[in-house]
Symmetry: C2
Subunit: 404 residues, 2 copies
Amino acid sequence: MRNLVVKKFGGTSVGTIERIEAVADRLLKDWKTKGEWPIVVSSAMAGETNKLVALGNQIDPTYRGSAYDMLVASGEQVSVALLAIALQKRGAKAKPYLGYQLGIETDNLYSKARILNIKTNHLLAEVEKDVIPIIAGFQGVDNELNITTLGRGGSDTSAVAIAAALRASSCEIYTDVPAVFTADPRLVKRAREIQKLSFEEMMEMASLGSKVLHIRSVELGAKYNVKIHVRTSFADREGTWIVPEGEIVENPLVSSVTHDASTVIIELQPVPAGPDFMATLFAKLAARGVSIDIITQNQLEKGQRLAFSVTQEDLPLTEQVLSEALAGQSIAKKVTDKMAKISVVGVGMRNHPGVAARFFKVLSEQQIPVHLVTTSEIKISAVIEQQHLQAAAEKLHTEFSLDA
Amino acid sequence: MRNLVVKKFGGTSVGTIERIEAVADRLLKDWKTKGEWPIVVSSAMAGETNKLVALGNQIDPTYRGSAYDMLVASGEQVSVALLAIALQKRGAKAKPYLGYQLGIETDNLYSKARILNIKTNHLLAEVEKDVIPIIAGFQGVDNELNITTLGRGGSDTSAVAIAAALRASSCEIYTDVPAVFTADPRLVKRAREIQKLSFEEMMEMASLGSKVLHIRSVELGAKYNVKIHVRTSFADREGTWIVPEGEIVENPLVSSVTHDASTVIIELQPVPAGPDFMATLFAKLAARGVSIDIITQNQLEKGQRLAFSVTQEDLPLTEQVLSEALAGQSIAKKVTDKMAKISVVGVGMRNHPGVAARFFKVLSEQQIPVHLVTTSEIKISAVIEQQHLQAAAEKLHTEFSLDA
């Protein structure tokens, strides 16, 4: 019985032919020296998915149906084929797999599909024949054999789902950063690597704008107890382990400062009082796959005001849904872009009050206006203007003792 | 019952987003004005397949297995998805299809696969529901669900095979030239458009280097009596019809001067006398998908000399097969590149001797050395140096009364 290890490579790790050859070398070396038989999952080569999205958006930026998923899934088809060729050149029996070939079944919420089932019989039978499977991440197939995709970053989720289906205890996510940091090092110079992080914290960070892991991959890791090892493909060193909370001896009050640099606030006024209007509107947005983030509603002199935030990426679709939903009603719409969301996350704050007070004190001292706020048991978030993002992130990083 | 017309669009016809939008407009206009319900087949966007081949070749230029086919088939996935999005934007129910989704079954001679069967039930059921199918050309699927490809230009073959499966009487091939010409107009300025050409002539032309149609598509057209209409997607005008010979009232002696600008001659010497050596060698080349063109063998003082030609594209694979096949034998190999093949084709020459004499007289007058020669009932070909190609083509075009 071989020691199977799911190894997922991100876009930069397979971004050039040289990188692909290096990944092939590393896989064979890890088999020889560590006895790890790789189940490989790959993203598209860096930049390719963006190019495909841009092509589709040139025709229709609001369309997100099965043709869109077929379009954007083609990037992974290229990278897995190239990686298989590189391994075969080295004498290995490598075989590339697309979602439909492996039976990665999903629902049909195109562009944001969820994996329902993965068949492992064929995969395991091939491994028994010494085949190294190279699986296209990000994609699956619905019950009518249409290609589906899992949303940006979805290859992480493919990898963890495959690890879970194989009952593996861990999954390696190879990326272009050496680890998960206490803040984005491009924004906060004194950001440090984190050695261990709980699933819950990583989930919050992913939902708050951290791009290191796809949120659904962390949910699956937590649900099926698959530890996730985020590490670099550019060096042979350990990175960050995402593990159950109980495996971390001492949790800091705040583990990280996380941000999302491209948030948009949409305000509608006056809207009808009561929850019906919101229920109907948000159902329509959800049906089109738009995730609503922070929502506030308050009574002003001119009537009810509803404000909510969406990502910049979802703005065209949101505007389309709104223009359909509000047609014939005299409701004013205001769109404020160039906003950012800054958050602090930490399971430690569950048992220690006062984090919120310190969070707002820092923003207040910097005279940074706060537009929307939301909190949970383990995070505090505020939407601020993009121009204030760096100062807010650095000061919060220092305030919560995260500086290197 | 709708009038179904298979319409195939080449790489230049879908080479940009603007071209894709123009194709969508044209399809809907032809439905409204001519009542033609389109069954669309598309190539990859111009240049994309070359890019994919180059990526694969950077890793291993001799590899042509299933991963290669998966790699190069991704180009059509992009173009059919984009065309479907453009049609949907115009209110049409368009749906993109890959080979596996439609059941385009092929053998598993990767990179040069042949279509074995096409299931039309699903396709016809979708058309009944007002769906415009947009089918990825060039690709199919083998009996293990691996993606296969049909060779360069294979989308023509996809289109004619689908037309045959639907029992259509004709198939439209939209390309970037208005018609088939008496010679390549880039080489011979006075080349003219041909209105009607027989299947047999077009087959010879395709096998001799004409890039207008994939040879297998013409074979299928002849076999299933599907007339092929080669026309431009850039204007609304007729082009060239490829039809059974009996439908052409008067055949010229020579219909066209055709060339292949990148041929390579390989000479082996001394080789064992008798057919065994050739049989074994050519079987090995065929197994790897290399097409041998002209073959000559003759007895020289130093021993038997075997010479044959292959396309420039097949040279790396040919060299690999040769080095394996000749290992341990003292046989000298000489490779001469920068060669070209020039041919004249016409069913008229069947009943009129003397074409060969006139062909060689023209080359002789221009003092052009002839390296290899081959003839059939309706064609004469010679391999010459690339530097003499233009002069030979122009003089032959004039000699056989093809000038405009």
